[in-house]
Symmetry: C2
Protein backbone atom coordinates (compact mmCIF):
# COMPACT_ATOMS: atom_id res chain seq x y z
CA UNK A 1 0.00 0.00 0.00
CA UNK A 2 3.05 2.24 -0.26
CA UNK A 3 2.75 5.49 -2.16
CA UNK A 4 5.79 7.67 -1.68
CA UNK A 5 8.31 9.68 -3.61
CA UNK A 6 12.00 10.14 -2.82
CA UNK A 7 13.63 13.30 -4.11
CA UNK A 8 17.09 12.34 -5.35
CA UNK A 9 17.88 15.67 -6.95
CA UNK A 10 16.08 19.01 -6.96
CA UNK A 11 18.67 21.45 -8.32
CA UNK A 12 18.40 23.41 -11.55
CA UNK A 13 20.81 23.29 -14.48
CA UNK A 14 23.78 25.13 -12.96
CA UNK A 15 25.40 22.77 -10.46
CA UNK A 16 25.50 23.88 -6.84
CA UNK A 17 27.51 22.20 -4.09
CA UNK A 18 25.25 19.86 -2.13
CA UNK A 19 22.48 19.75 -4.75
CA UNK A 20 21.90 17.35 -7.57
CA UNK A 21 20.14 17.35 -10.88
CA UNK A 22 16.49 16.34 -11.28
CA UNK A 23 15.51 12.81 -10.33
CA UNK A 24 12.58 11.49 -8.28
CA UNK A 25 11.81 7.87 -7.45
CA UNK A 26 8.18 6.98 -6.94
CA UNK A 27 7.31 3.84 -5.04
CA UNK A 28 3.74 2.64 -5.67
CA UNK A 29 2.93 -0.63 -3.92
CA UNK A 30 6.67 -1.53 -3.92
CA UNK A 31 6.98 -0.98 -7.67
CA UNK A 32 9.61 1.67 -8.51
CA UNK A 33 9.45 4.40 -11.12
CA UNK A 34 12.16 6.93 -11.89
CA UNK A 35 11.13 10.39 -13.03
CA UNK A 36 13.91 12.28 -14.82
CA UNK A 37 17.49 11.20 -14.50
CA UNK A 38 20.04 13.99 -14.08
CA UNK A 39 23.76 13.32 -13.80
CA UNK A 40 24.65 11.19 -10.78
CA UNK A 41 21.19 9.66 -10.35
CA UNK A 42 22.51 6.11 -9.96
CA UNK A 43 24.81 7.20 -7.17
CA UNK A 44 21.92 9.10 -5.50
CA UNK A 45 19.79 5.93 -5.72
CA UNK A 46 22.54 3.91 -4.06
CA UNK A 47 22.67 6.45 -1.26
CA UNK A 48 18.88 6.30 -0.87
CA UNK A 49 19.08 2.51 -0.63
CA UNK A 50 17.09 1.96 -3.84
CA UNK A 51 18.67 -0.41 -6.32
CA UNK A 52 18.31 0.67 -9.95
CA UNK A 53 17.65 -3.02 -10.64
CA UNK A 54 14.24 -2.52 -9.03
CA UNK A 55 13.11 0.11 -11.53
CA UNK A 56 10.12 -0.83 -13.66
CA UNK A 57 10.09 2.25 -15.80
CA UNK A 58 11.75 5.62 -16.35
CA UNK A 59 9.86 8.76 -17.32
CA UNK A 60 11.84 11.61 -18.89
CA UNK A 61 10.24 15.03 -19.10
CA UNK A 62 12.41 16.68 -21.75
CA UNK A 63 15.74 16.66 -23.54
CA UNK A 64 17.72 18.97 -21.27
CA UNK A 65 20.90 17.56 -19.78
CA UNK A 66 20.02 18.31 -16.17
CA UNK A 67 17.06 15.93 -16.54
CA UNK A 68 18.79 13.35 -18.67
CA UNK A 69 22.56 13.00 -18.33
CA UNK A 70 22.34 10.23 -15.73
CA UNK A 71 20.32 7.90 -17.94
CA UNK A 72 23.04 6.31 -20.07
CA UNK A 73 25.36 5.79 -17.07
CA UNK A 74 22.55 4.10 -15.15
CA UNK A 75 21.59 1.90 -18.09
CA UNK A 76 25.24 1.01 -18.54
CA UNK A 77 25.47 -0.02 -14.87
CA UNK A 78 22.29 -2.10 -15.15
CA UNK A 79 24.09 -3.95 -17.92
CA UNK A 80 27.09 -4.54 -15.66
CA UNK A 81 24.79 -5.77 -12.91
CA UNK A 82 23.28 -8.29 -15.30
CA UNK A 83 19.71 -7.00 -15.47
CA UNK A 84 17.53 -9.14 -17.71
CA UNK A 85 14.10 -7.57 -17.19
CA UNK A 86 13.24 -5.05 -19.92
CA UNK A 87 13.35 -1.41 -18.81
CA UNK A 88 10.48 0.71 -20.04
CA UNK A 89 11.55 4.19 -21.01
CA UNK A 90 9.04 6.99 -21.60
CA UNK A 91 9.91 10.37 -23.01
CA UNK A 92 9.75 12.65 -26.01
CA UNK A 93 11.71 11.92 -29.15
CA UNK A 94 14.62 11.96 -29.99
CA UNK A 95 15.45 10.29 -26.65
CA UNK A 96 15.51 6.91 -28.38
CA UNK A 97 17.86 8.17 -31.06
CA UNK A 98 20.27 9.71 -28.53
CA UNK A 99 20.29 6.53 -26.49
CA UNK A 100 20.70 4.21 -29.48
CA UNK A 101 23.66 6.24 -30.70
CA UNK A 102 25.36 6.16 -27.33
CA UNK A 103 24.67 2.49 -26.71
CA UNK A 104 26.46 1.66 -29.94
CA UNK A 105 29.65 2.98 -28.35
CA UNK A 106 29.33 0.94 -25.18
CA UNK A 107 31.85 -1.86 -25.10
CA UNK A 108 29.36 -4.55 -24.17
CA UNK A 109 25.95 -5.69 -25.36
CA UNK A 110 23.23 -4.88 -22.81
CA UNK A 111 21.74 -8.10 -21.44
CA UNK A 112 18.30 -6.45 -21.26
CA UNK A 113 16.06 -4.49 -23.56
CA UNK A 114 15.34 -0.80 -23.20
CA UNK A 115 11.79 -0.48 -24.51
CA UNK A 116 11.20 3.07 -25.63
CA UNK A 117 7.69 4.51 -25.57
CA UNK A 118 7.37 7.89 -27.20
CA UNK A 119 5.49 10.51 -25.22
CA UNK A 120 3.74 13.14 -27.29
CA UNK A 121 4.28 16.25 -25.17
CA UNK A 122 1.28 18.02 -26.70
CA UNK A 123 -1.25 15.45 -25.65
CA UNK A 124 -2.72 14.54 -22.29
CA UNK A 125 -3.00 10.78 -22.44
CA UNK A 126 -2.47 7.64 -20.43
CA UNK A 127 1.04 6.52 -21.34
CA UNK A 128 1.38 3.60 -18.93
CA UNK A 129 -0.82 1.47 -16.75
CA UNK A 130 -0.61 -1.64 -14.67
CA UNK A 131 -2.95 -3.28 -12.17
CA UNK A 132 -2.68 -0.56 -9.56
CA UNK A 133 -1.63 2.64 -11.34
CA UNK A 134 -1.94 4.82 -14.39
CA UNK A 135 0.52 7.41 -15.64
CA UNK A 136 -0.76 10.37 -17.63
CA UNK A 137 1.30 12.82 -19.64
CA UNK A 138 0.75 16.49 -18.86
CA UNK A 139 1.68 18.93 -21.66
CA UNK A 140 3.99 21.62 -20.26
CA UNK A 141 5.24 24.94 -21.66
CA UNK A 142 9.03 25.00 -21.80
CA UNK A 143 11.66 26.03 -24.36
CA UNK A 144 11.69 22.51 -25.80
CA UNK A 145 8.93 19.85 -25.93
CA UNK A 146 8.28 18.90 -22.34
CA UNK A 147 5.86 16.64 -20.50
CA UNK A 148 4.93 16.43 -16.87
CA UNK A 149 3.55 13.19 -15.48
CA UNK A 150 0.60 12.37 -13.25
CA UNK A 151 0.85 9.08 -11.38
CA UNK A 152 -2.54 7.98 -10.12
CA UNK A 153 -3.56 4.86 -8.27
CA UNK A 154 -6.46 3.04 -9.83
CA UNK A 155 -9.59 2.58 -7.77
CA UNK A 156 -8.92 -0.23 -5.29
CA UNK A 157 -11.28 -3.23 -5.54
CA UNK A 158 -14.61 -2.79 -3.74
CA UNK A 159 -14.87 -4.23 -0.25
CA UNK A 160 -18.04 -5.94 0.95
CA UNK A 161 -19.72 -4.67 4.11
CA UNK A 162 -19.87 -7.79 6.24
CA UNK A 163 -22.84 -6.59 8.30
CA UNK A 164 -24.92 -6.17 5.12
CA UNK A 165 -24.02 -9.69 3.99
CA UNK A 166 -25.09 -11.00 7.37
CA UNK A 167 -28.25 -8.87 7.53
CA UNK A 168 -29.57 -10.07 4.17
CA UNK A 169 -27.90 -13.49 4.14
CA UNK A 170 -26.15 -12.83 0.81
CA UNK A 171 -24.58 -15.83 -0.91
CA UNK A 172 -21.14 -16.08 -2.46
CA UNK A 173 -22.38 -15.45 -6.01
CA UNK A 174 -24.15 -12.29 -4.82
CA UNK A 175 -21.02 -11.09 -3.03
CA UNK A 176 -18.89 -11.66 -6.11
CA UNK A 177 -21.44 -9.73 -8.22
CA UNK A 178 -21.47 -6.91 -5.68
CA UNK A 179 -17.66 -6.73 -5.73
CA UNK A 180 -17.95 -6.30 -9.50
CA UNK A 181 -20.09 -3.22 -8.78
CA UNK A 182 -23.51 -4.72 -9.48
CA UNK A 183 -26.72 -3.97 -7.58
CA UNK A 184 -28.15 -7.10 -5.94
CA UNK A 185 -31.73 -8.36 -6.05
CA UNK A 186 -32.90 -10.02 -2.85
CA UNK A 187 -36.13 -11.61 -1.70
CA UNK A 188 -37.65 -10.07 1.45
CA UNK A 189 -40.91 -10.52 3.32
CA UNK A 190 -42.24 -7.59 1.27
CA UNK A 191 -41.23 -9.14 -2.05
CA UNK A 192 -38.32 -8.51 -4.36
CA UNK A 193 -36.02 -5.66 -3.45
CA UNK A 194 -32.91 -4.23 -5.11
CA UNK A 195 -29.95 -3.37 -2.90
CA UNK A 196 -27.95 -0.59 -4.56
CA UNK A 197 -24.28 -1.51 -4.80
CA UNK A 198 -23.28 1.52 -2.70
CA UNK A 199 -25.13 0.00 0.26
CA UNK A 200 -23.28 -3.31 0.05
CA UNK A 201 -19.75 -2.20 -0.84
CA UNK A 202 -17.28 0.59 -0.24
CA UNK A 203 -13.87 1.64 -1.64
CA UNK A 204 -11.38 0.85 1.12
CA UNK A 205 -9.37 3.98 0.34
CA UNK A 206 -9.25 6.87 -2.07
CA UNK A 207 -6.79 6.49 -5.01
CA UNK A 208 -3.70 8.57 -4.39
CA UNK A 209 -1.77 10.66 -6.88
CA UNK A 210 1.53 12.39 -7.48
CA UNK A 211 2.19 14.95 -10.19
CA UNK A 212 5.57 16.06 -11.49
CA UNK A 213 5.47 19.37 -13.37
CA UNK A 214 8.98 20.41 -14.38
CA UNK A 215 10.14 22.45 -16.37
CA UNK A 216 7.38 24.84 -17.34
CA UNK A 217 5.91 28.29 -17.47
CA UNK A 218 2.78 28.62 -15.37
CA UNK A 219 0.06 26.64 -17.12
CA UNK A 220 -3.54 26.75 -15.92
CA UNK A 221 -4.24 23.88 -18.30
CA UNK A 222 -1.55 21.66 -16.75
CA UNK A 223 -2.84 22.53 -13.27
CA UNK A 224 -6.38 21.60 -14.25
CA UNK A 225 -5.17 18.26 -15.62
CA UNK A 226 -3.86 17.27 -12.19
CA UNK A 227 -7.03 18.38 -10.41
CA UNK A 228 -7.25 17.10 -6.84
CA UNK A 229 -3.70 15.68 -6.81
CA UNK A 230 -2.43 14.65 -3.38
CA UNK A 231 1.17 15.67 -3.83
CA UNK A 232 2.23 18.12 -6.51
CA UNK A 233 5.86 18.76 -7.37
CA UNK A 234 6.07 21.98 -9.34
CA UNK A 235 9.28 23.67 -10.41
CA UNK A 236 9.90 27.17 -9.05
CA UNK A 237 13.20 28.15 -10.64
CA UNK A 238 12.79 31.84 -9.80
CA UNK A 239 11.59 34.08 -7.00
CA UNK A 240 8.72 36.42 -7.76
CA UNK A 241 11.03 39.42 -8.29
CA UNK A 242 12.67 37.56 -11.18
CA UNK A 243 9.45 36.69 -13.00
CA UNK A 244 10.69 38.34 -16.20
CA UNK A 245 13.62 35.92 -16.22
CA UNK A 246 11.25 33.05 -15.56
CA UNK A 247 9.17 33.97 -18.59
CA UNK A 248 12.26 34.42 -20.74
CA UNK A 249 13.71 31.01 -19.84
CA UNK A 250 10.44 29.05 -19.83
CA UNK A 251 10.31 28.56 -16.07
CA UNK A 252 7.99 29.31 -13.17
CA UNK A 253 8.29 31.44 -10.07
CA UNK A 254 7.47 30.44 -6.50
CA UNK A 255 4.15 32.28 -6.74
CA UNK A 256 3.25 30.68 -10.04
CA UNK A 257 3.96 27.23 -8.63
CA UNK A 258 1.71 28.10 -5.69
CA UNK A 259 -0.98 29.38 -8.06
CA UNK A 260 -0.80 26.08 -9.96
CA UNK A 261 -1.28 24.17 -6.69
CA UNK A 262 -4.25 26.40 -5.86
CA UNK A 263 -5.79 25.89 -9.31
CA UNK A 264 -5.21 22.14 -9.07
CA UNK A 265 -6.64 22.07 -5.53
CA UNK A 266 -3.58 20.02 -4.60
CA UNK A 267 -3.33 18.73 -1.05
CA UNK A 268 0.38 19.46 -0.77
CA UNK A 269 2.97 21.28 -2.88
CA UNK A 270 6.69 20.59 -3.18
CA UNK A 271 8.78 23.16 -5.02
CA UNK A 272 12.33 22.91 -6.29
CA UNK A 273 14.61 23.40 -9.29
CA UNK A 274 15.66 26.69 -7.69
CA UNK A 275 18.16 28.72 -9.67
CA UNK A 276 21.71 28.69 -8.27
CA UNK A 277 21.32 32.43 -7.52
CA UNK A 278 19.08 31.71 -4.51
CA UNK A 279 20.94 30.55 -1.45
CA UNK A 280 18.01 29.80 0.84
CA UNK A 281 15.37 27.23 -0.10
CA UNK A 282 13.27 28.22 2.90
CA UNK A 283 12.86 31.79 1.60
CA UNK A 284 11.56 30.37 -1.67
CA UNK A 285 9.09 28.10 0.15
CA UNK A 286 7.95 30.97 2.38
CA UNK A 287 7.19 33.06 -0.70
CA UNK A 288 5.07 30.27 -2.18
CA UNK A 289 3.26 29.77 1.15
CA UNK A 290 1.84 33.31 0.95
CA UNK A 291 -0.45 31.86 -1.74
CA UNK A 292 -0.49 28.13 -0.97
CA UNK A 293 0.19 27.39 2.71
CA UNK A 294 0.82 23.63 2.26
CA UNK A 295 4.11 24.27 0.46
CA UNK A 296 7.48 22.75 1.24
CA UNK A 297 10.85 23.10 -0.50
CA UNK A 298 11.76 19.64 -1.83
CA UNK A 299 14.60 18.28 0.30
CA UNK A 300 17.07 15.98 -1.44
CA UNK A 301 17.21 12.51 0.06
CA UNK A 302 13.84 12.99 1.76
CA UNK A 303 10.91 10.67 1.12
CA UNK A 304 7.39 12.11 0.99
CA UNK A 305 4.63 9.59 1.73
CA UNK A 306 1.02 9.91 0.76
CA UNK A 307 -0.82 7.81 3.36
CA UNK A 308 -4.10 6.19 2.28
CA UNK A 309 -7.33 7.85 3.39
CA UNK A 310 -9.29 4.82 4.50
CA UNK A 311 -13.05 4.65 4.21
CA UNK A 312 -14.74 4.79 7.64
CA UNK A 313 -15.98 1.21 7.10
CA UNK A 314 -12.44 -0.04 6.49
CA UNK A 315 -10.84 -2.14 9.19
CA UNK A 316 -7.15 -2.57 8.53
Amino acid sequence: MTFKVTILGSGSAQPVAGKHHSAHVLNVHEQFYLIDCGEGTQSRMLRAGISPLRLNAVFISHMHGDHLFGLLPMISTLGLLGRHTPLHLFGPKPLDEILDFQLRYLDTQLPFQVQFHEVNTRIHSCVYENKVMEVWSIPLRHRVPCAGYLFREKNPPLNIRKEIVDRYGLGIAQCVAAKRGEDIDIETDHGKQTLPNTEITYRPYEPRSYAYLSDTLYSAKAASLVQGVDLLYHEATFADTDRALARQTGHSTTLQAAKAALTAEAKQLLIGHFSARYKNDETMAAEARTIFPQTEAATEGKTYSVPPHFHPFHKS
Copy 2:
Protein backbone atom coordinates in the same frame (compact mmCIF):
# COMPACT_ATOMS: atom_id res chain seq x y z
CA MET B 1 55.65 26.11 -8.69
CA THR B 2 52.68 23.92 -7.83
CA PHE B 3 52.66 20.33 -9.01
CA LYS B 4 49.85 18.36 -7.47
CA VAL B 5 47.04 16.02 -8.38
CA THR B 6 43.60 15.82 -6.76
CA ILE B 7 41.81 12.48 -6.99
CA LEU B 8 38.15 13.25 -7.67
CA GLY B 9 37.13 9.66 -8.33
CA SER B 10 38.96 6.37 -8.02
CA GLY B 11 36.19 3.76 -8.29
CA SER B 12 35.84 1.17 -11.02
CA ALA B 13 32.88 0.72 -13.34
CA GLN B 14 30.32 -0.71 -10.90
CA PRO B 15 29.20 2.17 -8.66
CA VAL B 16 29.87 1.84 -4.94
CA ALA B 17 28.44 4.11 -2.25
CA GLY B 18 31.01 6.75 -1.33
CA LYS B 19 33.17 6.24 -4.43
CA HIS B 20 33.10 7.98 -7.76
CA HIS B 21 34.15 7.25 -11.28
CA SER B 22 37.61 8.07 -12.62
CA ALA B 23 38.69 11.71 -12.65
CA HIS B 24 41.94 13.36 -11.58
CA VAL B 25 42.77 17.06 -11.70
CA LEU B 26 46.42 17.96 -12.14
CA ASN B 27 47.59 21.43 -11.17
CA VAL B 28 50.90 22.39 -12.76
CA HIS B 29 51.98 25.95 -11.94
CA GLU B 30 48.31 26.88 -11.37
CA GLN B 31 47.22 25.57 -14.77
CA PHE B 32 44.56 22.88 -14.46
CA TYR B 33 44.25 19.63 -16.42
CA LEU B 34 41.50 17.06 -16.08
CA ILE B 35 42.36 13.41 -16.65
CA ASP B 36 39.32 11.26 -17.39
CA CYS B 37 35.85 12.46 -16.57
CA GLY B 38 33.51 9.87 -15.06
CA GLU B 39 29.91 10.67 -14.16
CA GLY B 40 29.61 13.41 -11.54
CA THR B 41 33.05 14.91 -12.16
CA GLN B 42 31.75 18.48 -12.26
CA SER B 43 30.11 18.04 -8.90
CA ARG B 44 33.33 16.50 -7.49
CA MET B 45 35.29 19.49 -8.80
CA LEU B 46 32.89 21.88 -7.08
CA ARG B 47 33.40 19.98 -3.86
CA ALA B 48 37.19 20.13 -4.29
CA GLY B 49 36.95 23.88 -4.81
CA ILE B 50 38.22 23.71 -8.40
CA SER B 51 36.09 25.54 -10.93
CA PRO B 52 35.74 23.72 -14.27
CA LEU B 53 36.15 27.18 -15.83
CA ARG B 54 39.84 26.95 -14.89
CA LEU B 55 40.49 23.84 -16.95
CA ASN B 56 42.95 24.24 -19.80
CA ALA B 57 42.62 20.77 -21.23
CA VAL B 58 40.96 17.42 -20.69
CA PHE B 59 42.68 14.09 -21.36
CA ILE B 60 40.48 11.03 -21.84
CA SER B 61 42.10 7.59 -21.66
CA HIS B 62 39.47 5.48 -23.40
CA MET B 63 35.84 5.19 -24.43
CA HIS B 64 34.41 3.45 -21.38
CA GLY B 65 31.57 5.20 -19.59
CA ASP B 66 33.19 5.22 -16.16
CA HIS B 67 35.96 7.40 -17.62
CA LEU B 68 33.78 9.52 -19.86
CA PHE B 69 30.15 9.99 -18.82
CA GLY B 70 30.83 13.26 -16.96
CA LEU B 71 32.29 15.04 -19.98
CA LEU B 72 29.17 16.21 -21.79
CA PRO B 73 27.51 17.37 -18.54
CA MET B 74 30.62 19.39 -17.65
CA ILE B 75 30.89 20.90 -21.11
CA SER B 76 27.20 21.75 -20.97
CA THR B 77 27.71 23.53 -17.63
CA LEU B 78 30.72 25.43 -19.00
CA GLY B 79 28.35 26.71 -21.68
CA LEU B 80 25.87 27.81 -19.02
CA LEU B 81 28.65 29.55 -17.10
CA GLY B 82 29.58 31.49 -20.24
CA ARG B 83 33.07 30.12 -20.86
CA HIS B 84 34.71 31.69 -23.90
CA THR B 85 38.20 30.18 -23.78
CA PRO B 86 38.53 27.12 -26.03
CA LEU B 87 38.74 23.82 -24.19
CA HIS B 88 41.34 21.40 -25.51
CA LEU B 89 40.17 17.84 -25.48
CA PHE B 90 42.56 14.93 -25.98
CA GLY B 91 41.50 11.35 -26.45
CA PRO B 92 41.08 8.49 -28.87
CA LYS B 93 38.51 8.57 -31.61
CA PRO B 94 35.49 8.42 -31.81
CA LEU B 95 35.35 10.76 -28.79
CA ASP B 96 34.86 13.71 -31.15
CA GLU B 97 32.01 11.98 -32.96
CA ILE B 98 30.22 11.05 -29.72
CA LEU B 99 30.54 14.58 -28.43
CA ASP B 100 29.47 16.24 -31.69
CA PHE B 101 26.39 14.07 -31.84
CA GLN B 102 25.40 14.88 -28.29
CA LEU B 103 26.14 18.58 -28.58
CA ARG B 104 23.70 18.78 -31.46
CA TYR B 105 20.93 17.89 -29.03
CA LEU B 106 21.86 20.53 -26.48
CA ASP B 107 19.34 23.34 -26.49
CA THR B 108 21.92 26.12 -26.67
CA GLN B 109 24.97 26.90 -28.76
CA LEU B 110 28.17 26.57 -26.71
CA PRO B 111 29.84 29.98 -26.38
CA PHE B 112 33.28 28.34 -26.57
CA GLN B 113 35.04 25.87 -28.81
CA VAL B 114 35.89 22.32 -27.86
CA GLN B 115 39.11 21.67 -29.76
CA PHE B 116 39.53 17.97 -30.21
CA HIS B 117 43.00 16.48 -30.59
CA GLU B 118 43.07 12.83 -31.49
CA VAL B 119 45.36 10.65 -29.43
CA ASN B 120 46.72 7.61 -31.23
CA THR B 121 46.71 5.04 -28.44
CA ARG B 122 49.37 2.91 -30.16
CA ILE B 123 52.00 5.60 -30.22
CA HIS B 124 54.11 7.17 -27.48
CA SER B 125 54.25 10.80 -28.48
CA CYS B 126 54.08 14.31 -27.09
CA VAL B 127 50.43 15.27 -27.48
CA TYR B 128 50.53 18.64 -25.73
CA GLU B 129 53.06 21.13 -24.53
CA ASN B 130 53.20 24.62 -23.16
CA LYS B 131 55.96 26.70 -21.57
CA VAL B 132 56.31 24.59 -18.47
CA MET B 133 55.01 21.13 -19.27
CA GLU B 134 54.73 18.34 -21.81
CA VAL B 135 52.13 15.60 -21.96
CA TRP B 136 53.05 12.26 -23.51
CA SER B 137 50.68 9.48 -24.49
CA ILE B 138 51.48 6.03 -23.08
CA PRO B 139 50.05 3.09 -25.05
CA LEU B 140 48.12 0.80 -22.70
CA ARG B 141 46.70 -2.71 -23.09
CA HIS B 142 42.95 -2.72 -22.42
CA ARG B 143 39.87 -4.22 -24.11
CA VAL B 144 39.48 -1.07 -26.21
CA PRO B 145 42.08 1.44 -27.46
CA CYS B 146 43.43 3.12 -24.35
CA ALA B 147 46.13 5.67 -23.58
CA GLY B 148 47.79 6.61 -20.34
CA TYR B 149 49.36 10.03 -19.96
CA LEU B 150 52.66 11.25 -18.62
CA PHE B 151 52.72 14.85 -17.46
CA ARG B 152 56.27 16.13 -17.19
CA GLU B 153 57.58 19.54 -16.27
CA LYS B 154 60.04 20.95 -18.74
CA ASN B 155 63.49 21.81 -17.52
CA PRO B 156 63.22 25.06 -15.61
CA PRO B 157 65.35 27.95 -16.95
CA LEU B 158 69.00 27.92 -15.81
CA ASN B 159 69.87 30.07 -12.82
CA ILE B 160 73.15 32.00 -12.67
CA ARG B 161 75.50 31.43 -9.72
CA LYS B 162 75.92 34.93 -8.36
CA GLU B 163 79.30 34.18 -6.74
CA ILE B 164 80.72 33.10 -10.12
CA VAL B 165 79.43 36.30 -11.76
CA ASP B 166 81.14 38.30 -9.02
CA ARG B 167 84.36 36.25 -9.06
CA TYR B 168 84.93 36.73 -12.80
CA GLY B 169 83.16 40.07 -13.18
CA LEU B 170 80.79 38.71 -15.85
CA GLY B 171 78.78 41.30 -17.81
CA ILE B 172 75.07 41.22 -18.64
CA ALA B 173 75.60 39.84 -22.17
CA GLN B 174 77.71 37.00 -20.75
CA CYS B 175 75.07 36.20 -18.13
CA VAL B 176 72.33 36.11 -20.78
CA ALA B 177 74.46 33.78 -22.91
CA ALA B 178 75.14 31.56 -19.90
CA LYS B 179 71.41 31.36 -19.12
CA ARG B 180 70.98 30.15 -22.69
CA GLY B 181 73.36 27.32 -21.81
CA GLU B 182 76.49 28.61 -23.49
CA ASP B 183 80.04 28.28 -22.18
CA ILE B 184 81.63 31.70 -21.53
CA ASP B 185 85.05 32.93 -22.65
CA ILE B 186 86.77 35.21 -20.16
CA GLU B 187 90.10 37.03 -20.05
CA THR B 188 92.28 36.20 -17.04
CA ASP B 189 95.82 37.05 -16.04
CA HIS B 190 96.85 33.77 -17.62
CA GLY B 191 95.14 34.58 -20.91
CA LYS B 192 91.82 33.43 -22.41
CA GLN B 193 89.88 30.85 -20.46
CA THR B 194 86.57 29.09 -21.11
CA LEU B 195 84.17 28.69 -18.22
CA PRO B 196 81.99 25.62 -18.83
CA ASN B 197 78.31 26.46 -18.50
CA THR B 198 77.87 23.94 -15.68
CA GLU B 199 80.22 26.06 -13.54
CA ILE B 200 78.19 29.23 -14.03
CA THR B 201 74.62 27.93 -13.93
CA TYR B 202 72.44 25.33 -12.29
CA ARG B 203 68.90 24.00 -12.72
CA PRO B 204 66.97 25.38 -9.73
CA TYR B 205 64.98 22.16 -9.43
CA GLU B 206 64.44 18.82 -11.12
CA PRO B 207 61.44 18.61 -13.48
CA ARG B 208 58.60 16.73 -11.83
CA SER B 209 56.26 14.21 -13.37
CA TYR B 210 52.94 12.45 -12.90
CA ALA B 211 51.80 9.39 -14.83
CA TYR B 212 48.26 8.10 -15.14
CA LEU B 213 48.05 4.47 -16.27
CA SER B 214 44.42 3.31 -16.29
CA ASP B 215 42.93 0.91 -17.51
CA THR B 216 45.48 -1.68 -18.51
CA LEU B 217 46.98 -5.10 -18.24
CA TYR B 218 50.48 -5.04 -16.80
CA SER B 219 52.73 -3.53 -19.46
CA ALA B 220 56.52 -3.46 -19.03
CA LYS B 221 56.62 -1.15 -22.05
CA ALA B 222 54.28 1.38 -20.46
CA ALA B 223 56.27 1.24 -17.22
CA SER B 224 59.51 1.87 -19.07
CA LEU B 225 57.97 4.87 -20.83
CA VAL B 226 57.36 6.58 -17.50
CA GLN B 227 60.85 5.80 -16.21
CA GLY B 228 61.75 7.82 -13.10
CA VAL B 229 58.28 9.26 -12.65
CA ASP B 230 57.71 11.02 -9.32
CA LEU B 231 54.11 10.00 -8.81
CA LEU B 232 52.58 7.07 -10.63
CA TYR B 233 48.88 6.32 -10.58
CA HIS B 234 48.33 2.77 -11.74
CA GLU B 235 45.02 0.96 -11.76
CA ALA B 236 44.77 -2.17 -9.61
CA THR B 237 41.25 -3.39 -10.23
CA PHE B 238 41.89 -6.82 -8.75
CA ALA B 239 43.69 -8.45 -5.85
CA ASP B 240 46.40 -10.95 -6.68
CA THR B 241 44.11 -13.94 -6.10
CA ASP B 242 41.86 -12.70 -8.90
CA ARG B 243 44.62 -12.30 -11.49
CA ALA B 244 42.77 -14.55 -13.95
CA LEU B 245 39.85 -12.12 -13.86
CA ALA B 246 42.23 -9.23 -14.32
CA ARG B 247 43.68 -10.81 -17.45
CA GLN B 248 40.22 -11.63 -18.77
CA THR B 249 38.92 -8.07 -18.33
CA GLY B 250 42.06 -6.23 -19.40
CA HIS B 251 42.95 -4.98 -15.93
CA SER B 252 45.84 -5.15 -13.47
CA THR B 253 46.23 -6.59 -10.01
CA THR B 254 47.74 -4.88 -6.98
CA LEU B 255 50.99 -6.80 -7.49
CA GLN B 256 51.14 -5.95 -11.19
CA ALA B 257 50.67 -2.25 -10.41
CA ALA B 258 53.50 -2.54 -7.88
CA LYS B 259 55.66 -4.32 -10.43
CA ALA B 260 55.02 -1.51 -12.90
CA ALA B 261 56.12 1.03 -10.28
CA LEU B 262 59.25 -1.02 -9.62
CA THR B 263 60.05 -1.27 -13.34
CA ALA B 264 59.43 2.45 -13.77
CA GLU B 265 61.55 3.25 -10.70
CA ALA B 266 58.71 5.49 -9.61
CA LYS B 267 59.15 7.50 -6.43
CA GLN B 268 55.60 6.91 -5.25
CA LEU B 269 52.68 4.74 -6.35
CA LEU B 270 48.96 5.43 -6.02
CA ILE B 271 46.61 2.57 -6.80
CA GLY B 272 42.87 2.64 -7.35
CA HIS B 273 40.03 1.57 -9.66
CA PHE B 274 39.40 -1.30 -7.23
CA SER B 275 36.60 -3.65 -8.17
CA ALA B 276 33.42 -3.25 -6.10
CA ARG B 277 34.04 -6.76 -4.71
CA TYR B 278 36.83 -5.48 -2.43
CA LYS B 279 35.61 -3.66 0.62
CA ASN B 280 38.92 -2.50 2.07
CA ASP B 281 41.26 -0.24 0.09
CA GLU B 282 43.95 -0.63 2.73
CA THR B 283 44.17 -4.39 2.16
CA MET B 284 44.74 -3.72 -1.53
CA ALA B 285 47.48 -1.18 -0.78
CA ALA B 286 49.12 -3.55 1.72
CA GLU B 287 49.28 -6.24 -0.94
CA ALA B 288 50.99 -3.85 -3.37
CA ARG B 289 53.42 -2.71 -0.67
CA THR B 290 54.85 -6.23 -0.43
CA ILE B 291 56.49 -5.43 -3.76
CA PHE B 292 56.62 -1.64 -3.81
CA PRO B 293 56.66 -0.12 -0.32
CA GLN B 294 55.89 3.46 -1.39
CA THR B 295 52.32 2.54 -2.31
CA GLU B 296 49.14 4.27 -1.18
CA ALA B 297 45.51 3.61 -2.07
CA ALA B 298 44.27 6.73 -3.88
CA THR B 299 41.89 8.57 -1.56
CA GLU B 300 39.06 10.49 -3.18
CA GLY B 301 39.15 14.20 -2.44
CA LYS B 302 42.81 14.03 -1.41
CA THR B 303 45.50 16.11 -3.11
CA TYR B 304 48.94 14.59 -3.66
CA SER B 305 51.72 17.16 -4.05
CA VAL B 306 55.08 16.58 -5.65
CA PRO B 307 57.33 19.17 -3.99
CA PRO B 308 60.27 20.48 -6.02
CA HIS B 309 63.73 19.05 -5.30
CA PHE B 310 65.77 22.23 -5.24
CA HIS B 311 69.37 22.31 -6.35
CA PRO B 312 71.70 22.89 -3.39
CA PHE B 313 72.70 26.27 -4.89
CA HIS B 314 69.06 27.36 -5.00
CA LYS B 315 67.98 30.02 -2.55
CA SER B 316 64.21 30.36 -2.55
